[in-house]
Symmetry: C2
Subunit: 258 residues, 2 copies
């Protein structure tokens, strides 16, 4: 069955988009069929795959408001087996417009079940904006699991228990099947103590929920988006790309036994 994974964390700048882009690419590289949904009005995941602004039509905005079918919004990324539903700034209007809908947290889930994507793809990966607003709630209701990128910094750690409580609330009220796929530690900097302190704290607190693979801070990761390419295509051998390849294989193993 198709696994729908929401990449979520309300803390900003923790590596949600970078994880979406590179994890999706690494999973596609082993022959799986993947669809990415860019659910952030910033449209960074769309940009990271080199999708031009003028090609982003229709977007997830029209899909979530029900004015376009999901199947019609799918674009190719040029990477075999990897497609994307893009986003533009129009999506920021959805936060307010969705309020008027009866089942405003179910719009994305409904759009997915009306389409053929659950049969056509092995994975759907949803990049969420930095908030616990209606867009992120739509992703959590549509998802079968949540992957949480956690930057190895103090402020990022502070928000974690809130996020876990929100996921639990969504599971109880809207989506009983929702699981935590895992927490992935990002921007781990071997040069500073803070990173290892945060990493130790999180592993003590959450144990096996934390992926073994850590993503190191690596400047090649932040250079890749300016070339419109995932870092796996921009620089396959860099530490960041290799870490995402390892994360993908760890995730695929976890999925098998799940």
């Amino acid at each position: 069955p198709c696994k729908v994974i929401a990449i979520a964390n309300q803390k900003g700048g923790v590596g949600k988009t970078t994880t979406t882009i590179n994890l999706a690419t690494a999973i596609a590289a082993v022959g799986k069929r993947i669809m990415v949904i860019d659910l952030d009005p910033q449209g960074n995941a769309s940009t990271g795959f080199g999708i031009e602004q003028e090609d982003r039509n229709p977007t997830i905005y029209e899909v979530i408001l029900g004015t376009a079918a999901l199947d019609k919004a799918i674009l190719g990324t040029g990477i075999p087996g990897l497609d994307i539903v893009s986003a533009t700034i129009d999506l920021s209007g959805a936060e307010v417009e969705l309020i008027d809908f009866e089942d405003r947290t179910f719009q994305l889930r409904k759009a997915i079940s009306k389409s053929k994507v659950l049969q056509e793809y092995d994975f759907i990966i949803i990049d969420c904006p930095p908030s616990l607003s209606l867009l992120t709630l739509n992703a959590l209701v549509a998802a079968t699991s949540v992957l949480v990128p956690l930057q190895c910094e103090f402020f990022a750690l502070e928000g974690l228990s809130l996020l876990l409580k929100t996921i639990e609330r969504v599971k109880v009220n809207f989506n009983p099947g929702l699981e935590i796929h895992g927490i992935v530690l990002t921007m781990f900097d071997t040069r500073n103590n803070l990173s290892s302190q945060v990493a130790d704290d999180v592993r003590n607190y959450l144990g096996s929920k934390v992926f073994d693979t850590m993503i190191p801070r690596n400047v090649r990761m932040s250079e890749a988006p300016s070339h419109g390419k995932p870092s796996l295509l921009y620089d396959f051998n860099c530490a960041g790309s290799q870490a995402y390849i390892k994360l993908a294989s760890e995730l695929l193993k976890k999925s098998k036994s799940a």
Copy 2:
């Protein structure tokens, strides 16, 4: 007259909270009276000043919904001349609750004008959440100017023109007095080309709107919050603290001539 400065950027993790905390501390250090408003449901600015969760009552949430007066929500930070109005996760409810208000983008501005803070403080600095939602719009309507922290990274650059358009729209429709105080380049990393490329691009595009002072990437900045202290108190001599002191004096000079 009191200057109300919104620290805003919808891109996550660019240094909004770190700039709020350390700029406010540096300005207080030269004898000005400062009030910080934490307008982010994550409450990172409140944590960065060591405000315990149980002391955060009432918060900016009650103030913005009109159930508490702003004067009643002011807490001391222990730093002479520097007070704060704190935030907790309750604030995330305001995004939806404000929709029902007639003048939902003016709630913060109304609360400020009803109080005595414009007479009691020289500066009010508002830390915004990573979105262009109702909370950030309330800050832009209440502000006399906007200071934009911009991380020297590609994704952060991509969102800049959208932010500037939004500020322009708020100026035209709600707050004709709103000015751009300036763009401050953050997490500048001398070791990598990307930082200097982004810095050059921004200076070419925006000229004198960009502060001369750049904030370097400096691990002491991210260690300070875990001690509940601004980096100026945690490590006065580190590169980050010294940069914020320079930024404060540059800002005070700009304010004089404004």
